[in-house]
Every structure is written in structure tokens, then in C-alpha cells.
Symmetry: C2
Subunit: 217 residues, 2 copies
DNA sequence: GGGTGTGAAGCCGTTCACAGCA
DNA sequence: TGCTGTGAACGGCTTCACACCC
């Protein structure tokens, strides 16, 4: 009866959590589906559906208890303990990401960085030490790392991914604009910056042509 | 009869183009749907569907002519001229993105950067000058900019978006982890880094629990 | 035989619509 | 009255299956 939660729902749960924990909303202890819906820009039905999957009950007069929602979301997407993550590639993008993820979510912690450039090895970047790729297996094992952020050039991506997976990682957030070929048990989430920008340009272009003939979403 | 092209298809077209223009594939002039499919990791039917929408004919014995495909893709997603884009926010992430988009696609050009920090104004970052936000309307008009990349902190995102839209931009690639409330004619594409990483962690976690009970994709 | 082009079927996520309830 | 919880309808995207062609 507890039916599987779709990936789309996970994404939204993450966003619900973000707005629910927004400091400006401090002190609000109950929220209606339509309020939350407006905040993340989805439909109220969508919110209720998602929450249904959480097995979390609301109340017709007050809505959902925020604290309860947050706890339920954490149960689904988080672990109880901080999740150790590694970063591979400390170029401009890599260090920007390091900076971004630092303190963004409390239990999502970058525990080590890796780079092939000898000048970078052993230096500390925003409190995170940089190692050679040779240290991967050791550190992945020691810190029980299961996910890696890949911020290397496209040409180095496949090789880096191989090494990371070999070291025991089974989840990758990939920023290199290249498809990765990896064993089926590895989950790859690619952030395709070029494609994203091209999508925006496609839209503006069609807006300019004032012939917006395409289905939304 | 030429039916509208879905957003999903646009994304894939962008990826098809990437692998088709890969230097290592130089000299290959024909390609089969299954070959291209393997390269971008989709099904052959998917590739054929997408190409069908392009109105581009293939040949049973040789496949599709690469040059023809590229031309057709360009017609749909690109413009003939380089597309001017602006960047708002030259922090770590902003300059990493500037670096990334520089020379990644030829006709996709960052023409100006903007930041509120007076120390950054008038400096040149990777060949791109930084301006105050007050210069937005002028430059957007002069350069005929229609899209903006937003790389500012979450707290500043809405305000920056307002200004950018006021200046005449109608497409935004947003990196701030905050929803943007804007007029309907503006297209916002959000890159949600936190959510993306949480998705990966969700997967690894469920892989670890060896109870991967969810539908793929 | 092996590929393309495409109608038809299937699948999944979203939205509707309404019963139940405070 | 107005919101939650949810079966049922809907719609879009993907995959199937097969006619057609080199």
C-alpha cells in the first residue's frame, strides 16, 4: 500500500523543505497545501499528493504541521547522520561548488576534495583538504562516502568517474558536459549547464518570434 | 502537421549535438539511430522520434547524415547569430560559470556581467566587463540581450530577477536556491544544486538499504 | 537483413472532482 | 464553509510494433 515515491516527488520534497525552513517563516507551525503550493509554484493537489506519499496527516482546519512535515521529509530523503560527500576537481567550478554546499544543508558534508594537479594537493580549500586521486579508495572507505561531485573537464570526466566508482562510490553528481558510462548500480545525476542555457535561449527565441507553439513545462 | 517540439526533445537535441560535434568523432559523416542512442544513453526509438520532429530524413543503409542533423538542430535551438547573454553576480559561482560558458558553444556569448559590489564594477573577468545593476537597462537594450544567468545569493535573487526582467530580459537561468516570482512571459530555468545533490543521496541511500523500490528515470 | 518512419499502445505523473471531516 | 485525502480521468512522453525501403 505504501507505494513507491517518484523522483519528481523527491525533487519537490527537497524544495518544500527549503521553503519550510526559510528563516523568514520562523514561527509558522501550520501550513495549508495551497500556501505551500504557492511558495514552490506547484498546484495544491500536487502538494497533497506528495504529502500523502509521506504518510503524514493534515487537518482540515489548520493544514499540516510544519515540524511533522519536515521530520517526514527528512525520513525520506535524508539520513539521520550527516552524509559524507567528496568533490573531484578543484577548478573554478569545483571550488565554487565547495563554497555553495558549505553550510547549505547541515547534514550534507563535503569531507574531502581530489585533484590531479600536484600544486593543489594537500592544500586546504574552504576547510576541505585536497588529495590525489590515488587516495580515493582509502578515504572513501574510511569516511564511508557513497556520493561524489564531479567537477572536472569533460575530457577527464569518464576516467575520474571510473576511479570514483572503483573506490566504492555509487552516486555521482556530474557537472562535466559529457555522458558517463558506468555500471548500472551507479546513479548519475548530470547537471548539464550548456543544455540548460540552450533551453532558456530556445524559449526567449520563441518568445521573440511570438510563436510560442509548444506545450508548457 | 509539423507538430510542436517538446521541451524534453529540446534537451536531447542539445545533447545529440554535443556528441555529434565531439572532436573524437571527426570525419564520421553518417550515423545510425542506435549509435547515437548509445552515445547519449536513450533508446533508438527516442532518437528517431526526435529526429522526426526535425523533419530530417535518414537512410536505411547509412543512417542519418551528421551534417544535416547538426544543421537541423541549429535551426531549432539556435539562432543564426550569436546569442548575447548577461551574467548577474560575479561571486565564485558566477565567475566559474563565466569560465565554463566561455568558448563552450560558439554562438552563445556572455556580453556583460553585473554586480552590486563596487570593487568588482569596471573590472574585467575573463574578458567580460562588470557593470553596476543600474546599467542593466542600457546594456540589455544596446546588446539586445534576452537571457540572463543569475548567480547571486538566494536572498538577493528575487530583487536581481526583478531588475533583470524590468530591463527587458525574458529568459533566466537561475542558480539561486530560491523560487522566483515573475511575470508569466518570463521563462525561468532553475538549476537547483541542493536538490540535485539530495537526489543523488536519496539514491545512494536506497541503494545502501538495498530496497530500491522506485520507478526509474 | 537491418534500418528508418510512424500510428498505436502503454506508462507515469498531474489534475480533477468529490466524499469526509473539523 | 473550506480544507484534506484519494479514486478516477487526463495528457504527454516513451516505447512498441510493423510497414516500407535500401
Amino acid at each position: 500500500m505504501q507505494q513507491p515515491i517518484s523522483m519528481r516527488t523527491i525533487e519537490r520534497l527537497s524544495r518544500y523543505r527549503r521553503v519550510l525552513t526559510d528563516p523568514s517563516r520562523q514561527g509558522v507551525s501550520y501550513i495549508f497545501s495551497h500556501t505551500l503550493a504557492a511558495l514552490v509554484q506547484v498546484t495544491p493537489s500536487q502538494v497533497r499528493r506528495d504529502i500523502m506519499g509521506l504518510g503524514c496527516a493534515g487537518n482540515p482546519t489548520r493544514g499540516y504541521r510544519v515540524e511533522e512535515l519536515l521530520a517526514a521529509i527528512a525520513t525520506v530523503v535524508d539520513d539521520d547522520q550527516p552524509q559524507p560527500v567528496i568533490l573531484v576537481g578543484i577548478g573554478k567550478l569545483g571550488s565554487a561548488l565547495l563554497n555553495f554546499f558549505r553550510g547549505h544543508r547541515p547534514n550534507l558534508q563535503v569531507v574531502a576534495a581530489f585533484d590531479n594537479n600536484p600544486e593543489k594537493v594537500n592544500r586546504i580549500y574552504q576547510g576541505v583538504r585536497c588529495y590525489t586521486l590515488e587516495d580515493l579508495p582509502r578515504i572513501v572507505a574510511a569516511e564511508r562516502v557513497s556520493a561524489a561531485i564531479l567537477a572536472v573537464p569533460a575530457t577527464a570526466a569518464q576516467e575520474a568517474a571510473n576511479q570514483v566508482v572503483f573506490a566504492g562510490v555509487c552516486g555521482i553528481l556530474n557537472f562535466a558536459p559529457a555522458p558517463l558510462f558506468l555500471p548500472a548500480h551507479v546513479h548519475v545525476e548530470s547537471i548539464d549547464l550548456t543544455t540548460a542555457l540552450e533551453k532558456v535561449l530556445f524559449h526567449t527565441r520563441h518568445h521573440a518570434l511570438s510563436s510560442v507553439v509548444l506545450n508548457p513545462r
